[in-house]
């Protein structure tokens, strides 16, 4: 079953490897919105997100021969988008990991989690977090990466990723409660 998932859109991927423009467009159509949303969550600026998505697709198609179905095409592409987004943020000197001064000191018993919150408020809440916290929340909660993967993406240790995620989550819940 797992192998089947890895080979999702195999024929389109194989044709794209040979430079078939139609197949490349079909793959693009299937993934562009998802990739654009990932980048928008990280970059927040439309033009920046568009640049990241364009560059990611170009890099993906031009280097498709190196894609060997070790993951799905979607997650391979997503990783390119995330890496490019992180690089862009770094270039713009926007912190991708929380800096000491920004760290919130939250009481351990503060975790009073509301059962159902409006997703719109969560989206708004994430936007109100410091940039470093935003990325870790995005990567763990929404993009579904584990702490080992996040540690690779953000070049931090897995334990740092874990502790910072917990801080970020607590802050997010605090913010959301006020909305």
């Amino acid at each position: 079953m797992e192998t089947n998932i890895l080979y999702t859109h195999k024929s389109l991927v194989e044709k794209s490897k040979l430079g078939d423009r139609n197949a490349q467009y079909k793959l693009y159509e299937l993934y562009v919105d998802a990739m654009y949303n990932i980048s928008m969550r990280m970059m927040h600026i439309k033009e920046d997100a568009e640049d990241v998505v364009q560059d990611s697709f170009i890099e993906a198609f031009n280097n498709l021969s190196s894609f060997r179905y070790e993951s799905t095409f979607g997650s391979w592409l997503k990783r390119i988008v995330i890496n490019k987004s992180i690089n862009q943020l770094k270039k713009k000197k926007i912190p991708v990991v929380p800096i000491e001064d920004q760290m919130y000191h939250i009481k351990e018993d503060a975790e009073d989690i509301p059962s159902e919150i409006d997703i719109k408020n969560i989206i708004k809440g994430i936007r109100l977090l410091p940039s470093g916290y935003q990325q870790i929340i995005n990567l763990y909660l929404i993009e579904g990466y584990d702490h080992v993967e996040i540690s690779e993406i953000l070049e931090i240790s897995p334990s740092t990723s874990k502790s910072q995620y917990h801080r970020a989550k607590k802050k997010l819940i605090e913010i959301v409660k006020t909305l």
Partner: protein, 183 residues
């Protein structure tokens, strides 16, 4: 995983609130893509000046010899060829009608079983193949007279075959008839 995390993971799709400008993005992507690989590998011989010289010499020699051959022997050959073809046409028109008529007779004959007819016609097919080969020989400008003779022999063989067959049938008919009288 706590309830908050669970809730977000279950509603992941709701976080995708943006729509990409597909055509605009594709336009920019397409301009950055590598050209499709050509399926056949091209070996650039022409980049070597030695090959250029060699090719020019070969082409020049080729053109010269073609012109030479066509000028010297072209005129003669074309006349000869025309005559040979004319002759072949004459032979064809003379014998083809004859053979077609006789084949028809064989086909119509009720005395022969379908297998016998098939066997007989397969002989004819063999002669057809021989005829095609002869026709090709004629175009190659080999000894035209001998080839034409062979064509005529080929036709004659067919006629002979058919005549023999028809004779056999007729004689057996006569025999049958004689038998009928004696009875």
């Amino acid at each position: 995983m706590d309830n908050f995390e669970k809730y977000i993971k279950e509603n992941k799709a709701l976080f995708d609130v943006h729509k990409a400008d597909k055509s605009k993005l594709w336009e920019n992507i397409e301009s950055g893509l590598n050209k499709p690989e050509s399926k056949t590998k091209t070996i650039k011989l022409w980049s070597n000046p030695l090959f250029k010289v060699a090719a020019t010499v070969i082409i020049a020699l080729g053109v010269f010899s073609i012109i030479n051959i066509s000028l010297v022997s072209g005129a003669n050959n074309s006349i000869q060829n025309n005559v040979a073809l004319q002759e072949l046409n004459d032979i064809n028109s003379h014998y083809k009608g004859l053979i077609a008529y006789q084949v028809k007779l064989v086909n119509k004959n009720t005395q022969l079983s379908p297998e016998e007819k098939k066997e007989f016609l397969s002989f004819m097919d063999e002669l057809d193949i021989e005829y095609e080969i002869l026709k090709e020989e004629l175009q190659k400008n080999v000894d035209t007279e001998r080839v034409l003779e062979a064509v005529v022999i080929n036709y004659k063989k067919r006629i002979e075959l058919i005549e023999n067959l028809l004779e056999q049938i007729n004689s057996s008919k006569k025999l049958d008839n004689d038998d009928a009288y004696t009875l």
